[in-house]
């Protein structure tokens, strides 16, 4: 069975929020929309976002790491939000593993958001229905789009290509290879939710310069006379 998912490369994410607003603009006018904003021009503005970037610091100065961490529905293989739904609004698609909400059935009871250990469900406070990342279901299943565009809006937007997208059940897919070869990990595996989305860790490149590398026969300094004799007295003139 296909399981579509995102693999997010923390090694290159710079926290620019392109994924946040490209998601919003696609989905607010799409199948999963609208994505309402509350107090859009007033105090305490807030609104529905299927994808948010959290930035936090790790360690103490000067050994500080600043981490940008995009978060959205992880499309769990065993999603705890589905069985708790009293109306069957919350469901996992069989053809591609995407977890969705049918707004027509949703009664806004929030059981699913309590069940979700990742806090990625967003209650539309105006319509009183639960909304969430759909992996842009109306893009990825739209056969009228060219194949190169049949991807979530966030994936297409991301300037650092930090969001890989594909079938994590296909061992030869880009995402499976990335998870396998670059230390991809799932969030909070102890919950047994088996998130489909994965994260790739930071990697560091170091350089070592050995002392020998500073001593070269072709050192350009050897081309310049380092001293000039201008007639001043030396030990060679006065000792015997």
């Amino acid at each position: 069975m296909t399981q579509l998912a995102l693999v997010i490369d923390l090694n290159v994410c710079v926290g620019c929020h392109a994924c946040v607003t490209s998601c919003k603009q696609w989905n607010t006018s799409g199948w999963a929309g609208p994505m309402v904003d509350e107090n859009p021009y007033g105090a305490d503005p807030t609104g529905t976002f299927f994808n948010r970037v959290q930035t936090f610091e790790v360690g103490h100065y000067p050994a500080t790491e600043t981490v940008h961490f995009p978060k959205s529905c992880l499309h769990c293989e065993d999603p705890p939000c589905v069985p708790v739904c009293p109306t069957g609004a919350s469901y996992k698609r069989e053809d591609n593993g995407v977890v969705l909400v049918d707004y027509d059935k949703c009664i806004g009871c929030k059981y699913c958001s309590w069940a979700c250990p990742y806090g990625v469900r967003e209650l539309d406070a105006q319509q009183k229905v639960m909304k969430k990342c759909t992996l842009c279901i109306d893009r990825i299943t739209d056969q009228t789009l060219p194949e190169s565009e049949r991807k979530p809006a966030c994936v297409l937007a991301c300037p650092t290509n930090a969001r890989l997208y594909g079938d994590v059940h296909d061992p030869d897919s880009e995402v499976s290879i990335a998870i396998r070869e670059r230390g991809g990990y799932a969030l909070m595996p102890e919950w047994g939710t088996r998130p489909a989305n994965h994260y790739l860790p930071r990697r560091k490149t170091y350089m070592h310069v050995s002392p020998e590398e500073l001593q070269r026969a072709d050192n350009p300094l050897t081309k310049e006379d380092l001293t000039v004799y201008t007639g001043e007295e030396t030990l060679d003139d006065v000792t015997w």
Partner: protein, 969 residues
């Protein structure tokens, strides 16, 4: 719900897709705008665009919210007769009335004294037109925002290597192995840089970030090297010291392509001390900026002309020419200069351990030397040497405002340019690479006017409004050596202020120094808020009356798209369009979007009709030019020459028959010429058919070593990019600077600075870089103000534009002062506390946020988030006004006088060479606000009222945007 798979999105409503160019920031990515029933449904990156290759950022993805913003201005407005400036009380007027009013007033000023009209513009990317309008009008008082942005970066590098970062050049990360980024915020060249950094990291490149703050790009650096603000120059000089000491410099590159081996006269008693020795017998290209009549000291033959075949010149030593002139290669002078700049010395200034500085120098030097790139590309240099490959040293740098916005920034950036040069990385693979029209001569040819006679009634300005002084004779001063421009640019106070000094216009005009003006016309510049230093005072000056009860700045015109803070102060408001509603050009005459491989320019095409009565500012200027009878905008019989901007762009030539126009692509009668060619009436259609972008890829042999690449330079001359095909020798040693110093020391015939400025010029016009403490820091009590305060823009916002954007403001609705916990704890300040931040000018109240990602001597905040209450159509209690704050209130536009009054107005708080605003020099102290104090930011201003024509729809709690349905009932 319906099955999403069964209902393609494009079947909902009437769908159209139009291509244009983004302007949510200054990157200028190609975009495809999807419309549904005439409303924007989706904006995506254009995958075929050479700049962004399909990606788009948070701002670009939020263009929809710009379009529907309630802050949109939609009608021309006039201040009500009985209202005061700043009260935001306006009445609607028609465009005819507005244009009549402007024509009458400006026509009178032009006939009497064109200086009385000052035109200053923000980050507009249409300087080709605005500058031309000012020149045609005849006023010297024109500039864009470069003086308070990053002119040090442009000038420091262009006066050294003939090119600069961002539009004009950048790091070749495709081939670099080591990338060092210094003082870079996250808003410049943002998408291309993000794309390149991520690819670079994935290829295993090593990325070092040197910055007081670790955010954004720095977050993914392999190593973060925190540095104290304003000390980068000390770091670069120490790195150069170490590279020279150990022998990690590219000797061949320095000899062939820089003035390192060229002989400088070394006799302090002679008038020509510090100038290159020039052989009078050698024929030179007349008028060329840097003629090739200089000498090397060949180890066998002694003095020889530079580039004598077979010569092997000395880089070091001290020699005497046959006529008895003592000389040294300029490299020896550099070595002498950096002798004292040891890593241990720099450690005390920068806060970076000496061992780290040494290690960084070795990493750079060894990578440059041992990982040399060789590309199988043949090319010919200017001296007719054939090369069968292009080689490069893969160490790349990028730097921006963190270096520039200090009063020592010019020399800091000269030092960086020299560091890059010593490593042999200029226009070579893996290093720094130019973007057309750069490289240009050092300095480029255009000059500002050089005397008050250049300004005459009813006559265009004699010279370009901005230019590149090469000698004191190029300064725009009067017979006493005093400024002609209102901002004092190109005067002896700030001789190389090549982008003007917009940050001093309001203060100078208010003070009447050097003279009062009548009309200040601001286009897209928020000078009553985040684009002014000392903002509280700037607002007071804009509304200040003289002893007769008249405004000290009599008439203020503001053209903008949004109800900014500045609009409240206008006498006349002109509503501009958004980027989706107009034609634009991103012109080779201004700041194009060229790639390393060749020139690129682009256009915007209107995707939507203008809102309300909005008119593109370009159309307004062209109509105004016609009405005022400015020669370039009128026919011989005095009628307007152009219908509108698109008509102008196609038909205008810089001079009759020059073949140079605003757009470089598809020129000539048949659209088959590039860069130069007759006007092509179908040019807009050609751009439309090609994704709104023109990209001319150069042959590979012209893509590198362009300063000295004979084929490229002749191609550039043939296509009117440059005047000379002479090699552009890199200026390790700046003879240009020495000319100004010689004038100050009385060692040069011609112009001399006024007495009071001689020491200043002699000090700062040093032909070699040196480190000095920022000017304001030298003048204030460092014990009282122990902290440096910085601002930077977040990636999701650009300038002050985006607080009116309902989506982007949810990412940053207010700003904190970020403080290292050890610094905060010393003042008993807890995370989240309200605090006072005080500078020598005053204080602001804001909230403190702990951050371990900031050097403890630095505090910083996001710029341009805090807003004046009611501005930008936000409610008076919006977070931006009550929790957000503006640091600018603490930053002086002039240097502190410490109570002394010499009768002479204070110097601008700027770099003494370029006039770059020294935003980042400000020093502060912080203290906890008392618990009983109100928990809102200070200062506060009376809320700005909405202006007529602002969004009519009711302010509701909810806003749900769905394309095709929004606001349609």
């Amino acid at each position: 719900m319906k099955d999403p798979a069964a209902h393609p999105d494009r079947d909902i409503g009437h769908t159209e897709v139009k291509e244009t160019t983004c302007y949510m920031c200054a990157c200028r990515c190609g975009i495809r705008v999807h419309l549904r029933d005439g409303q924007v449904r989706y904006i995506e990156g254009n995958p075929n665009h050479p700049l962004n290759h399909g990606v788009i950022c948070a701002k670009g993805s939020s263009g929809i919210m710009k379009q529907i913003s309630p802050a949109r201005l939609t009608k021309p407005l006039r201040r009500k007769a009985n209202a005061r400036r700043g009260e935001s009380q306006f009445e609607e007027i028609s465009w005819d009335e507005a244009m009549d009013l402007l024509t009458e007033r400006l026509g009178r000023l032009r006939a009497e004294d064109p200086r009385q009209f000052a035109l200053f513009t923000g980050r507009d990317q249409m300087q080709a037109l605005t500058g031309m309008f000012a020149k045609q009008f005849g006023t010297p008082n024109y500039a864009a925002h470069g003086g308070f942005c990053s002119v040090n970066m442009a000038a420091g590098m262009i006066y050294s290597i003939g090119g600069s970062f961002w539009e004009f050049g950048g790091p070749d990360l495709e081939r670099a192995k080591l990338f060092v980024m210094i003082g870079t915020a996250e808003d410049h060249h943002s998408n291309p840089l993000k794309v390149q950094i991520s690819k670079f990291k994935r290829r295993g490149g090593r990325f070092v970030s040197i910055n007081p703050v670790r955010t954004g790009y720095s977050a993914i650096a392999d190593e973060w090297v925190p540095i104290r603000p304003g000390t980068d120059g000390a770091l670069f000089l120490a790195l150069i010291h170490e590279l020279l000491k150990v022998g990690l410099f590219d000797r061949d590159f320095l000899i062939q392509y820089t003035n390192a081996a060229e002989l400088v006269i070394d006799d302090p008693d002679r008038d020509d001390h510090g100038m290159f020795y020039r052989d009078p017998e050698t024929p030179i290209t007349e008028g060329c900026t840097d003629p090739q009549n200089k000498l090397w000291w060949d180890r066998e033959r002694g003095a020889v002309l530079t580039h004598t075949k077979g010569a092997d010149p000395r880089l070091m030593g001290s020699f005497t020419l046959a006529d008895g002139t003592p000389v040294k290669p300029s490299f020896q002078l550099l070595k002498d200069r950096v002798e004292r700049y040891t890593p241990e010395w720099a450690e005390g200034i920068t806060g970076i351990p000496a061992a780290t500085i040494r290690r960084l120098a070795y990493e750079m030097g060894v990578t440059a030397r041992d990982q040399k790139i060789e590309l199988p590309i043949t090319w010919t240099d200017c001296w007719d040497n054939e090369h069968d490959s292009v080689t490069g040293n893969p160490v790349a740098f990028h730097a921006m405002r963190g270096l520039a916005a200090h009063s020592n920034g010019f020399h800091t950036i000269r030092a960086l340019s020299i560091l890059m040069t010593v490593l042999g990385t200029i226009d070579r693979p893996g290093g720094f690479r130019h973007r057309a029209p750069f490289p240009r001569p050092i300095p480029p040819c255009p000059k500002p006017p050089n005397s008050p006679e250049a300004v005459q009634p009813n006559t265009p300005l004699d010279g370009l409004p901005l230019g590149w002084p090469a000698t004191p004779e190029d300064l725009f001063v009067d017979a006493d050596g005093e400024p002609v421009r209102i901002d004092k640019a190109f005067s002896w106070e700030y001789p190389l202020s090549v982008h003007g000094m917009m940050h001093n216009v309001i203060t100078n005009a208010w003070r009447g120094d050097p003279y009062p003006i009548d009309t200040l016309f601001l286009f897209m510049a928020n000078m009553a808020w985040n684009s002014s230093m000392n903002t509280t005072e700037a607002r007071r000056m804009l509304a200040d009356l003289d002893e007769h009860g008249n405004y000290r700045i009599p008439f203020l015109v503001v053209c903008d798209t949004f109800a900014s803070e500045t609009v409240a102060f206008a006498d006349l408001v002109l509503p501009d369009t958004t980027y989706l509603e107009r034609h634009d050009v991103l012109s080779m005459l201004d700041r194009p979007i060229s790639e390393f491989d060749g020139p690129v320019d682009a256009v915007r095409l209107p995707v939507l009709p203008p809102k309300g009565e909005c008119r593109p500012f370009q159309d307004v200027l062209i109509e105004l030019g016609g009405r005022l009878g400015l020669p370039a905008f009128t026919t011989a019989d005095g009628r307007p020459k152009y219908r509108n901007y698109p008509d102008f762009v196609v038909n205008y030539e810089t001079s009759p028959g020059s073949g140079i126009g605003f757009l470089a692509g598809w020129r000539g009668e048949f659209g088959d010429k590039v860069l130069k060619g007759e006007p092509n009436p179908r040019q807009w259609e050609q751009y439309a058919a090609n994704g709104c972008v023109f990209h001319h890829e150069l042959p590979r042999s012209y893509q590198y070593m362009r300063n000295w690449n004979k084929g490229y330079l002749h191609w550039a001359r043939a296509h009117a990019l440059t005047r000379w095909a002479e090699p552009i020798t890199l200026h390790l040693y700046s003879e240009v600077l020495n000319r100004f110093r010689a004038a100050a020391l009385g060692k040069r015939p011609g112009r001399r600075p006024p007495e009071r400025l001689r020491e200043r010029i002699a000090t700062y016009f040093d032909p070699l870089p040196f480190y000095y403490e920022p000017l304001e820091t030298q003048l204030i009590d460092k014990i009282r103000y122990p902290l440096n305060a910085l601002t930077q823009r977040p990636m999701a916002m650009y300038h002050s534009w985006d607080s009116q954007n309902a989506w982007l403001r949810q990412i940053h609705s207010h700003n904190y002062l970020f403080v290292n916990p050890q610094t905060a704890l010393a003042q008993d300040i807890a995370d989240g506390d309200w605090i006072w931040v005080e500078s020598h000018l005053g204080q602001v109240r804001c909230m403190c946020r702990y951050s371990e990602a900031v050097e403890p001597g630095t505090v910083w905040t996001w710029n341009a988030i805090g807003k004046a209450a009611g501005a930008w159509a936000l409610s008076a209690d919006a977070d931006e006004a009550k929790k957000g704050f503006l640091l600018n209130h603490l930053i002086g536009e002039e240097l502190p006088t410490n109570g002394t009054h010499s009768g002479v107005p204070p110097f601008s708080n700027s770099d003494p060479i370029t006039g770059q605003a020294a935003w980042y020099d400000v020093r502060v102290r912080i203290s906890r606000a008392e618990v009983q104090e109100p928990r809102i930011s200070e200062p506060q201003f009376p809320p700005m009222r909405p202006v007529p024509g602002q969004a009519s729809r009711p302010r509701t709690r909810w806003q749900a945007y769905v394309a095709g349905l929004f606001d349609r009932h």
